[in-house]
């Protein structure tokens, strides 16, 4: 189970990462997921060069095939991340959405 304290501590970082724009540097579609992501597979993960100058790795949501190209414009959104199990706190994090 993810530590609720760790989730609480990490939530503070998320605010600063919301609604940032950038472009896809690379992408992959994951067919064999790790524990906690089984129900989401297959899903797309992208590395994005944010306009602010930093790079960030997260899932891409609300995509169509035409969005899966290097250079595609995206922005950050808040989404649930992994399956917390029966008793865990639901973790939220950053994902990308095509523009």
């Amino acid at each position: 189970m993810l530590s609720p304290v760790k989730i609480w501590r990490n939530q503070k970082k998320i605010q600063k990462l919301l609604n940032l724009h950038g472009r896809i540097l690379s992408w992959t579609k994951i067919y064999v997921p790790p524990l906690g992501f089984e129900s989401q597979a297959p899903y797309v993960i992208v590395v994005v060069a944010l306009d602010s100058g930093i790079n960030y790795t997260a899932q891409l949501v609300d995509w169509e095939e035409k969005h899966l190209v290097i250079g595609q414009a995206v922005k950050t959104v808040l989404r649930r991340t992994r399956d917390p199990g029966e008793e865990g706190v639901i973790p939220y994090g950053i994902k990308f959405k095509p523009l």
Partner: protein, 383 residues
Amino acid sequence: MKIAVLGAATTKFGELWHISPRDLVKEAVSEALDQSGCSRSQIEAIFVGNMLSGVLGGQENLGAFFAEELNLPVSAMKVEGACASGGLAVHAGVMAITSSLYQTILVVGVEKMTDHKPEEVAKSLMGAGSDVERQAGATFPGLYALMARAHMKKYGTTEKDMASVAVKNHYHASLNSHAQFTRPITLEQVLTSSIVASPLKLLDCSPISDGAAAVVLSKNKKQKTKNKKQVYITASVVATDSLGLAERQDLTTIDAAVRAAKKAYKMAGITPGDIDVAEVHDCFTIAEIIAMEDLGFFKKGKAAASIREGKTTLGGRPVINTSGGLKACGHPVGATGVKQIVEIYKQLKGTAGKKQVKGAKIGLTHNVGGSGATAVIHILRRD
């Protein structure tokens, strides 16, 4: 630097459900000690390379664990650096000898992975990545797939190029009785295997494996030996980079490996062109293409064509991954970096059997942890 490798051995790698980690280590150590001509009382310290014993097996304190098992109650510790744990354990052994604290030491690499289901192993391996990558649901095939896609875009590398790495390494493994996969495969089989993380397919990926490897290192040469060729480690270098892939300057290179290799060539007083044979960290086929460029064997963007043309297959030069590499010999993560030293030792000794590179004098090992956060380079040579 001149550290003598007195003995070196591996177990068979594979799905070894019937053998415990204890027995794997005993087997490798007993063979390495036999070769070394050292008595057990000469071993002054043990360095154990391992990544997942705690998270998967629930067993830590591996130094004492194996010291007890081997009945060698000496200084002992575990060294961890993800898939570079084995290489780091060798580096720790080299440091221990160069510090003059010890004369003769044992390095062990071991991993037991196939007892656990794939999702568990994938999650545990992600301990080597960053928290952001774990939150994204990334896997190691996924991280290398991101590197592959960037390399394809920048240099025109194709899925067929990557597949040719797997075909070569399975061919080499077919000559290695200790390999996990001993049957050759075709380009077609690689290209039509199921997708793990696009563009990487099942046969682009190294397997989940069990196995152990051991080497005996010493300040002193072997006193009595039938095989006169003495093998030495002449460079041992570690470099690190960001844990996460996103923080790297360039997704198409592993900068830690570039920096470690440059320093290692300087330490050994050689150039990339002097290398006859190398074991490189081909956890995924794209990783071998990138390694060829990072190590200076081929110019950036030119390695794929050279591999396809057979320049790194047995008979070419430099010959890469005669053991079959991680791809086909198998990748018990903590054992891999030590196994690489074992393979190069055999090549330089001239005891590599059917996969022997004729006249090999200088060899290199390239062991990577995470998606490039840790890189360990060793250079070995014989008299």
